[in-house]
Every structure is written in structure tokens, then in C-alpha cells.
């Protein structure tokens, strides 16, 4: 069975499967080596690391809920990178998206069902506006969007904090947090015993929309061509200025919406005091998912799985919290190592190419 299946695959996908598995195995061995160094119960720790996320229904829920914002961020970065726009503003857009969702949640009395949708839309638009600023600066003055977006993240963070701090802060909260959102604004939890919320439908919907957009619409086509060769796109009569603008707007829109989904799905009030720790993970997810909207959620789930496993390990074994970021970093870097096993691949190719004669 497996053999037959393998035969059908092209050299590339066969090789990809092999490379991926070997990379994971090596990462595991290194993780195991490290854990062996620091733990008295290494097998127990490993078990938690790799089986923890599927050990309980609740834990599977943790993987899913973690993957939701990662997918939004991954989509956001994928769209912008596909247009060859190195806008790093997803994290700023995510933060402002969360802030705007909180403000809409708190200030607009709207019925259940409509309320979160309005909040999501506003959040998306504001997120999109934020990532559009580097685009506009680039179009008007040809200044690098990479730099201006990195800088804008800090601006968005502080602006968001200022708004919450000075207009929506709940003085009875023991820390910086907004008033509680009305029930109408929340994205309800779907499955009892988990925190999987309505946002999962929204994220699935957005994955499909973005996939359709990139692969099947004229705008997506124009975007991809601009990303692959801007001169060619211009020469073909594609308005690359429009592409530069809308690709970054959509990128920010997705991140902003992701922020809103996270805030309305996982919290009952705005509680971010700093940039969320996963705000920069969009690049990781996008690169692992090869900027393909269909692979992005897979990459997000993979990353979420690693993270939930690591958390489970730190709670249930004697492996410390820091060890986890080391192992995580290593797994990511190893999975992304493309040339790894290159020689083996070449052998496979030669065999394939010369076997037809």
C-alpha cells in the first residue's frame, strides 16, 4: 500500500516527505539529547512533549485554539510575501485589530451575531490601514516597507495601549484591562470542555477566501505575477501600484481580523499589555506553509502542536520553561532546512531521469 502510494508521488513530493520526516527525527533526537541532559525522567518528558497535545480532548482544543491566530498571521504574511512585499506589520495590525474589536465591543450596542461581525470588519479595516501605510510610503517615496512596518508595529502597540488606558480601562481591574465586553460581542465557545470558539469557522472561511482569491481571481493572479516579477507585471499592463497597495491592505486586514477573533473568542475583555508573544510567528507559519493558503493552516497546527506539547511537558515534567524555546527554535529551523539531504535527492532524480531510456 505504502509502496504503491510512494510510487505515484513525484520525486519532489517523495523527497519532501522523506526530508520532512528525517528533519523531524533529527530534531527529536536533538531534543531528546537536550532533555536527557536536564531531566531525570526524559522519556516521561518526551511523552508529554509529543503525545501531550493529543492526550486529552481539552488539549486538542488547545492546539486548535492556538492555531487560529497563527493561521490568520500566516495568511496575512503569505499574501504580502506573495506580492513580494516584505511588510512585517502583521503584529501591529493584530494588536490594533484586537484594540478596535474591544472598542466596537464596548461602544456599539448591537445584537448578538451582528456585533462580533461588525467588530471583525472594523478591526480588519483598521489593521489593513496600518499595513497600508508602509505601502503608501513605498509607492510615493520608494522607501523600504520592511523598515517602516517594523517601526509602525511599535506605534500601533503604543496607540492601542493609549486608547485602552485612557478611555476604556476598567478601574476595578487589578491590571491594565478594558471593561468587560457585553455578551453580544463575544464569539461563543463551540465545544464544551474546550475553548474552541466560533472563530474557527471564520478562520476556515478566510483560508478558503484567500485561497480562492490568490489562485482563482484576477486580483490574485495580478498579485502573484507582481510578486514573481514586478517588471513583467508592469510591462503586461498590470497596475502594480494597486497590487502593492491591496496586497498589504489585505495582509493587514487578515491580521487585524485575527486580533479581533482572538480578543473576542479567547477573552472577555481586552487584556493585552504588550505585543502578544506569537505576534511575529506569521513569518514562521508563512514560510513553513510555503505561502500557500492551503498549507498555512497545516503549518499553524504544526506550530501550535509543538507549542502545546512543550507547555504540557513543562507542567508535567521537570524540564524547564526555557528548554522549550530552545527545542522549539531548533525544530523550526530544522524543518525549514531545504538543502538538507540534497545529495540523496540528486541520486533519486538521476535514477528517475535515466530509468526511462
Amino acid at each position: 500500500m505504502l509502496k504503491q502510494w510512494l510510487k505515484k508521488q513525484s520525486v519532489d513530493s517523495k523527497f519532501e516527505t522523506l526530508r520532512f520526516s528525517v528533519a523531524i527525527i533529527i530534531a527529536l533526537l536533538v531534543a531528546f539529547g537536550l532533555i536527557l541532559l536536564v531531566s531525570k525522567e526524559p522519556f516521561e518528558a518526551l511523552r508529554h512533549l509529543f503525545l501531550g497535545p493529543i492526550s486529552k480532548f481539552r488539549k486538542i482544543g488547545n492546539v486548535v485554539e492556538t492555531a487560529i491566530p497563527l493561521t490568520f498571521l500566516g495568511l496575512s504574511v503569505s499574501v504580502m510575501f506573495s506580492a513580494n512585499q516584505f511588510n512585517m506589520g502583521s503584529s501591529g495590525a493584530l494588536f490594533m485589530g484586537g484594540t478596535v474589536a474591544a472598542i466596537v465591543g464596548l461602544t456599539m450596542p448591537l445584537p448578538t451575531g451582528i456585533h462580533p461581525l461588525v467588530a471583525l470588519l472594523f478591526a480588519g479595516v483598521v489593521g489593513g490601514l496600518i499595513t497600508s501605510i508602509p505601502a503608501i510610503i513605498k509607492l510615493k517615496w520608494n522607501a523600504s516597507e520592511l523598515v517602516s512596518s517594523l517601526m509602525l508595529n511599535f506605534v500601533a502597540l503604543n496607540l492601542g495601549l493609549y486608547l485602552i488606558m485612557n478611555h476604556f480601562r476598567d478601574p476595578d481591574a487589578g491590571t491594565l484591562a478594558s471593561f468587560k465586553f457585553p455578551e453580544t460581542a463575544l464569539l461563543p465557545t463551540l465545544i464544551k470542555g474546550t475553548r474552541i470558539h466560533f472563530g474557527i469557522f471564520i478562520v476556515i472561511f478566510m483560508v478558503i477566501v484567500i485561497w480562492l482569491f490568490l489562485a482563482k481571481t484576477k486580483w490574485g493572479y495580478a498579485l502573484r505575477m507582481t510578486g514573481m516579477n514586478m517588471n513583467f507585471a508592469k510591462y503586461s499592463g498590470i497596475s502594480t501600484a494597486a497590487v502593492i497597495l491591496y496586497s498589504q491592505f489585505i495582509g493587514g486586514f487578515l491580521a487585524g481580523m485575527g486580533g479581533a477573533v482572538e480578543v473576542l473568542g479567547m477573552y472577555d475583555r481586552f487584556r493585552w499589555q504588550m505585543m502578544p508573544t506569537y505576534a511575529f510567528d506569521g513569518v514562521i507559519v508563512a514560510v513553513l506553509g510555503k505561502q500557500n493558503p492551503i498549507f498555512v493552516p497545516v503549518a499553524a497546527i504544526l506550530l501550535a502542536y509543538i507549542r502545546v506539547g512543550a507547555d504540557t511537558m513543562s507542567v508535567n515534567s521537570d524540564v524547564s520553561y526555557e528548554m522549550i524555546s530552545i527545542i522549539q527554535g531548533f525544530i523550526i529551523i530544522m524543518i525549514a532546512a531545504n538543502a538538507f539531504l540534497k545529495h540523496y535527492r540528486q541520486k533519486m532524480v538521476v535514477k528517475e531521469a535515466t530509468s526511462h531510456d
Partner: protein
Amino acid sequence: MQEIVKMVDILKVYPNGIVANQKVNFSIVEGEIHALVGENGAGKSTLMKILFGIEQPTEGSIVLNGQEVKFANPQEAIKHGIGMVHQHFMLVPSLTVAENVVLGDEPKKAGGLLDIQKAIADTAEIAKRYHFEIDPKAKVEDCSVGTKQKIEILKALFHGAKVLILDEPTAVLTPQETSELFKELMLLKDKGHTIVFISHKLNEVKEITDRITIMRAGKDVGTYDTDKVSKEDISNLMVGREIVWDLDKSKAEPKDVAVQVAQVTLVNEHKRKLLDDVNFSIRRGEILGVVGVEGNGQRELVDVLTGLQQASLGTITINGENIQRYSIRKIRDLGLSHIPEDRMTLGVAEYASIEENLMSIYFDKPEFLNGPFLKLKQINAWAKEKVVDYRVKTGSEKTPVKMLSGGNIQKVVVAREFSNNPKVIIADQPTRGIDVGAAQFIHKKLIELRDKGCAVLLVSADLTEVMDLSDSLLVFYNGKIVAYFEDASVLTETELGLYMLGLKAQSEAEIRRCVYA
């Protein structure tokens, strides 16, 4: 004579599975000029890249002066006295000529410091020895294409090349530059260098080389003494079929004016006038050729006509509409098609598939759209048809263009630009660096379109091509039109050369004839 290089049973499989060389045997003897010819994608460049250490053979061996060698990288090949001038320039634009020449083997002062004075002196010295006129202190980005070609050769010589591989060195040169290059090659030969010369121009091959090796589809089909084979023999061996040589072209019947260029001037940021008060018309049903030594305004002319640049002064009207401030899209909507000079930077997105490249100017036409959604099935069927019509050699229309050879990439570009029922075609070097068969195919298509009433502007550095194909002809020098020939068929290359080099110019009134009302 002694055999200096021998490549035995070379097999090369690229990582994408393409078998570029299949058991190729190739040998050259000391002091000869040896041609390597073959259709696009025959595997010439690959074979030479292997000899130069850029690619490693999957199987097979290289014997140099009787000793087997293995080159893991160009450095080792260079050490063994092999030099290569690549078809696409391998220069660093922001560095000076001298810096480019010495790069990789720089003269040093104590402590790893670059001895720039010595670099300049060495460059000047070697240029003088081989009679190259070149300013070692000039920045490469300011140099003309011909000069860049010379820099490439100087580079190889500086690194001590005894065997010099030239991959299509003349594709971008004017006849004068080519003959200058040939003089230099003969001089090199006299000084004991051995030269491998790759070209699609069989005239040149006949003119300068001693022996010829012909490749077809990754295999070598034989080595011949040049004077023992005719051009026809060579091309038949190359393609494996008979090629009909004559261009079946009737006399043009020009109709009304399609494009009117009036007082167009273009200034660059260095305040140079790249186009200087240019006036002319292109009429329906004619092919108007444009010639000039590279860098005399032809490229800029194409740019302003196609909307890639805005003219600083003057007006251009296409089909009666003034295109000033028109976007490229709007200009194309007037029925303009454009075969760009540089297919890799403008003509295609190399990582995109053939199909995606074919549809870049059609994707938002109503017949391919369903709301904002592309009709992917229709597009695919259409692309398949184009691949067949234009004889693009490929396994599938989904193959990335990057995997095609140069000639086939050009066919993709042409297929796209010609399928639009164009009213005006700007064809800039439409057959540069592609083989005879493919070139002929494109020429026929151009004439066909002309006969259907299309206005064609043909810019080419290949004088044979311009003279064969054009009905009338403009000569550019220094951003100005210096001559207009209503009937291109009566001209000779030598005469054209005089105008191109600025040695001769027509009177104002004679030039004015190219403006039709």
C-alpha cells in the same frame, strides 16, 4: 596539434530531472577556434558550464592536457587556465571596470589592502596588449553592452585563461563591434589561446572558426572542419530536418499612419538627452526597422512608445489618441503589443508557469472572466493551443518558464504578444540568441501580421534580420534619427554602418520624409 581539452561521455542531470547532456564527447585542440552549435536547449551551455566548473557532471570525465581533472568550482577551472565569458553578463554594475577585471585575483598591498592603483594599471596594460579600448576607472553600469563584452573577455584573460569559452558573445553586438571582436579573437588565437565559440549565427561560425561540434537534444552529432560543411549542412544537422531558407515576403503596401511620434525628447537624471527631438510615423501594413549601435536611443524609443517611460517633451499618438500619461494598460488596450529586448526581466515571470505567462495580458478580458473569477478551464485550453501553435518545446503548459531554454521562452513571449490581434507591434530584438528554426518562425509570423494590416516597429542589433525583414528603415545615432530609407531592400550593411557610427547623416529634409501625415 595537441588535444588540450577532452570531455568524455558527459552525462548531466539537473536537479529538476532534465537530462541536459547525454554521453557527450567533445574535444578541442590547442590554438583552434572551435564552434559549438545547436538548437536552444541542446545542452551547449551546460557542457561548457561543466568544463568551467560551475556545474558538475553526473557522469563522465574531463581530460586536460592528458590528465584527468575534476573541477568542483570555477576557481579550480580558472587555475587550470580555463576562462569563460557567459552569455548573460557576469559583472558587478556598481564596481569599476578595473575592479571587475581583477575580482577574484586582486593585487594586494600589505595586510590584505586592495591595491587599486595596480588594479587599474594591470587592467590598462592587459587591455593595451590585446588592443581593447577601455577606461579602467569607468563604472560598469555606465558602460555600453559592447564594452561589457570586452570587460568579460579581459576578465578571463586577466585570470590567465589559455582556453577561452565564449557563450554567444556576439548576440548583443553591432556588426562593427563583432568584426572588432573577431579581430581580437584572431589575435588571441595567434598568441596561442584556444577558443570555444558558441553562436546561433552560422555566418559568424563559418567566418571565424576552424572546427565545429554540433549538438542536438543533449547529444553530440559530430565534429567537422568548418570549411568542409555548408551553412545548410550545419543547420540540418542541428535540427535533424531540412530548413527552408528563403523568407517568403511580398512587397509592403503601407496604409494610413498608426503611430505618430512628434518632437519626442527624453532626458535622464544625469541630464543626458537619450532621445533628441524624434519625429516619425509607423504606417499600417509596414515593418519599420530601427537600427543603431546599442545605446543610441533605440531602447528609450521603445520605452516611451510602450509606456515604460514618459517622454520629457513631445507627443506620441497611437490610432489618433495621445498616449501622454497613459498607463501601460491603456496603451496596450489601444492594440499595442511589445516583444521586449530582455525577455528574462520584462518578458516573463520565470517562476510562473507557461500558462500563467501566456495569460498576463488577457487575464482580465471578459472572455476569460466570470465576475472576478478566472475561467481556468478555458484559459488552460487556450494556453495548450498556443503551446502547440507556437511549437514551444515543453512537457506541459504548467511547466515553469524557468525550465525552458532561451528560445522556447522567447516563443512563449511571442505567442502571447501575437495572439492579441495587435494593431501595432513593437518588436525589440525578437530573435536574439535563439536558433534558426525558431527565428524563422517568428519572422514569418511578423510578416503575416504585417500583411493583415499591423504596424510593426522592429528594433534589432542583427543587421541581416532588419534588412531582410524591414520595409523601411530608420537609423539612430546619439538619440537622433540620422537617416531614413523608404526602401530597405536596396541597402548594404556597410552603408548602414556608416550612418550607425555617425560618420554619415542625411539632410534634415531627407529625414523628414519619415513623417507621414
